[in-house]
């Protein structure tokens, strides 16, 4: 058996899986987006582009922007917290690192919904945080934390933080500690050493973690549905609503496609940046 046929044989199950469960459904949804909504729900199979036009309606475009803002904020916070945690784990004694990593990913062992419900218990007006404040002597109005944008961001950060920790830990743990020492030896402060040596060398991990959080957050509908107020907190809720409540499948499909397009753009931008970094190195190499 030749090398090529063997590798294609190994790839076949994954290809079949992806085709059946990713490509075909996506193609169906894409096709759906070009039809009209039937008068009593259902689908009127006449070709139209107006669903895509509606996506750019200020009302819906605004939800896209809001989703991007919420996902972006969650990404920023998750990266800051996750990088710090990964840094601390990588700096811990070697034999403790797997233990800390285990604790970092421990929440993944419980269901996403249950973890999100736990935040309701924490944040509601008579929840744990309010009780804790009372215990410390706070007597005023209980703060309204649940059903706010902040609650959605907190939920997203909490759920996707382990991805960032894992993505940042990989390059941080591989970093030769003598590089930081060399920087100090050459006269750099600890802060400068971080900015000029440690951070640039761990950017790939940060980028991978950030893209992960952003892509998962912008399409999320469970967290905004449970922790956010209002009906259309984020684009995911809007899509959900079009399919299951408004019964406008074609418009829901157009929204879903727009969302996929945004995610693809983000992923492509990351791939391009990584490619350019690798290409630059290769170019210099060929030059030498």
């Amino acid at each position: 058996m030749t090398r090529i046929s063997r590798s294609s044989l190994l790839m076949a199950p994954a290809l079949v899986w992806l085709t059946a469960l990713m490509v075909v459904p996506c193609a169906l949804v894409l096709a759906l987006a070009f039809f009209r909504r039937g008068i009593y729900g259902g689908i009127d199979y006449t070709f139209t582009l107006e669903n895509f036009g509606l996506v750019f309606d200020p009302l819906y475009a605004g939800i896209f922007l809001k989703s991007a803002r919420i996902a972006g904020t969650a990404t920023l916070i998750a990266v800051v917290i996750g990088y710090a945690a990964a840094y601390a784990i990588a700096a811990a004694p070697r034999r403790w690192q797997p233990v800390f990593l285990f604790f970092a990913v421990l929440p993944f062992w419980s269901n996403y919904l249950i973890r999100t419900y736990a935040w309701i218990v924490l944040l509601n007006r008579e929840g744990l945080i309010t009780q804790l404040l009372r215990w410390f002597g706070y007597t005023g109005e209980p703060p309204s934390m649940l059903y706010t944008e902040g609650a959605v961001i907190a939920g997203l950060v909490y759920n996707y933080l382990p991805f960032v920790i894992l993505a940042c830990y990989a390059p941080l743990s591989r970093l030769n500690p003598e590089l930081a020492e060399a920087s100090r030896d050459l006269g750099a402060s600890a802060a400068t050493t971080f900015r000029r040596v440690i951070l640039p060398l761990t950017v790939p991990g940060i980028a991978a973690g950030a893209v992960f959080v952003f892509v998962l957050s912008i399409g999320n509908f469970v967290t905004p549905a449970l922790l956010g107020g209002g009906r259309f907190q984020m684009i995911g809720n809007l899509v959900y609503d079009q399919f299951l409540t408004a019964n406008d499948w074609p418009f829901g499909a157009a929204l879903a496609m727009a969302l996929i397009a945004i995610m693809l753009l983000v992923l492509m931008a990351q791939a391009l940046a990584a490619d350019r970094a690798a290409g630059r190195a290769a170019e210099v190499k060929a030059d030498g």
Binding site: N176, L179, A182, D185, L186, G187, A188, L201
Partner: protein, 357 residues
């Protein structure tokens, strides 16, 4: 000649890690513009001592005086001392030029001055053609030169080198030993090198310190240490030494077989105490004259040809270990020996060193 000035005084410095004493009350003076070697087997404390000089470790006890100022607690970025790391620790995301400029940028020097100083050091270290390359595109020897340039461009009072030649192959190592010496001479900076390779320190150092188990055993010129080792460990560690175990007598050592090895007995050794007499392989002559103080017969067990000399492994009645004898190539030509031959060995009393066992 004026007395050389002391640049760095290590004053009774100790370093403990928990219950382990890595460096044990070491005192050393390192002089201005000298090439100083810290030598010892792995785990002897030489790297810990070096890291204290660089500022990465703080002594548990003692002072480190640079130009008379105690720098023991000064952070590494605030001392005029630079370290060339064993792994070189070049910044992989920066070009050679950026690596070398880094230290001067930290001093906030004007960019024109940075440029000219970097250009000068790149020329000295023959790195100009590689200035725009990344470290991963360099050979081991080139990386080593970048690491050296990066430290030297700072014009430190003291340059520390941690096993600088450890990663290079043997041939390149020989060339770099001379290169380092030339550079040290050229830039006029005091070098302190850490090595476990005794040959390396003999070749390069003006003076060297031999360490073992965190203690300083001897500090002197390579010649003095080679010819007059302080104790049996130093004698064995530096170069090759033949040992004859026995007991101290008035004028030497009496070997187990009753033979007398003549030599100067140190005053500290009492008559009858267990001791070893030792002699360097190159001090032993084949077929000595009758008046030679120390003589023994032996059987050549093995021969090793080294080009410049011939090394004979000779079993003798003096010691269970074979003697190593080095015969120059032309002496070997005049009177050839081969494996299995009976030979006479002889050496002078002046070449014998006697140590406490």
């Amino acid at each position: 000649m004026s007395e050389p000035r002391t640049l760095l005084a290590i004053d009774n410095v100790s370093k403990k890690f928990g219950r382990v004493t890595a460096v044990d009350s070491i005192s050393l003076d390192i002089r201005e513009n000298e090439f100083f070697a810290l030598l010892g087997p792995s785990g002897c404390g030489k790297t810990t001592l070096l890291r204290m000089l660089a500022g990465f470790e703080t002594p548990t006890d003692g002072r480190i005086l640079l130009d008379g100022n105690d720098i023991a607690r000064t952070p590494p970025n605030k001392r005029p001392v630079n370290l060339m790391f064993q792994s070189y620790a070049l910044f992989p995301h920066m070009s050679v030029r950026a690596n070398v400029s880094y230290g001067l940028e930290m001093e906030r020097l004007p960019s024109a001055e940075i440029r000219s100083r970097v250009d000068a050091i790149l020329a000295t270290t023959e790195l100009v053609p590689f200035a725009d390359r990344k470290p991963e595109q360099l050979s081991g020897g080139q990386k080593q030169r970048v690491a050296l340039a990066r430290a030297l461009v700072k014009r430190p009072r003291l340059l520390l080198l941690d096993e600088p030649l450890g990663a290079l192959d043997k041939k390149l190592r020989g060339a770099m030993q001379l290169e380092l010496k030339r550079l040290q001479h050229e830039v006029g900076i005091t070098f302190v090198i850490v090595t476990h390779d005794q040959e390396e320190s003999l070749v390069m150092a003006d003076r060297m310190a031999v360490l073992k188990d965190g203690k300083l055993l001897q500090c002197d010129t390579p010649h003095a240490i080679y010819e007059h080792p302080a104790d049996r460990f130093v004698a064995d560690f530096i170069g090759v030494m033949n040992f004859v175990p026995g007991k101290v007598s008035a004028d030497g050592v009496i070997a187990a077989n009753g033979a007398r090895i003549m030599g100067k007995v140190p005053a500290a050794l009492a008559s009858g105490a267990p001791a070893v007499a030792s002699v360097r392989p190159e001090r032993i002559r084949l077929f000595p004259s009758a008046e030679t103080a120390n003589r023994t017969s032996g059987t050549v067990e093995a021969l090793a040809y080294h080009g410049l000399d011939l090394q004979l492994h000779v079993s003798t009645p003096l010691s269970p270990k074979r003697f190593l004898v080095r015969v120059t190539a032309d002496a070997a030509d005049r009177r050839p020996v081969s494996s299995g031959d009976q030979v006479e060995l002889g050496w002078d009393a002046a070449d014998v060193r006697i140590f406490e066992e």
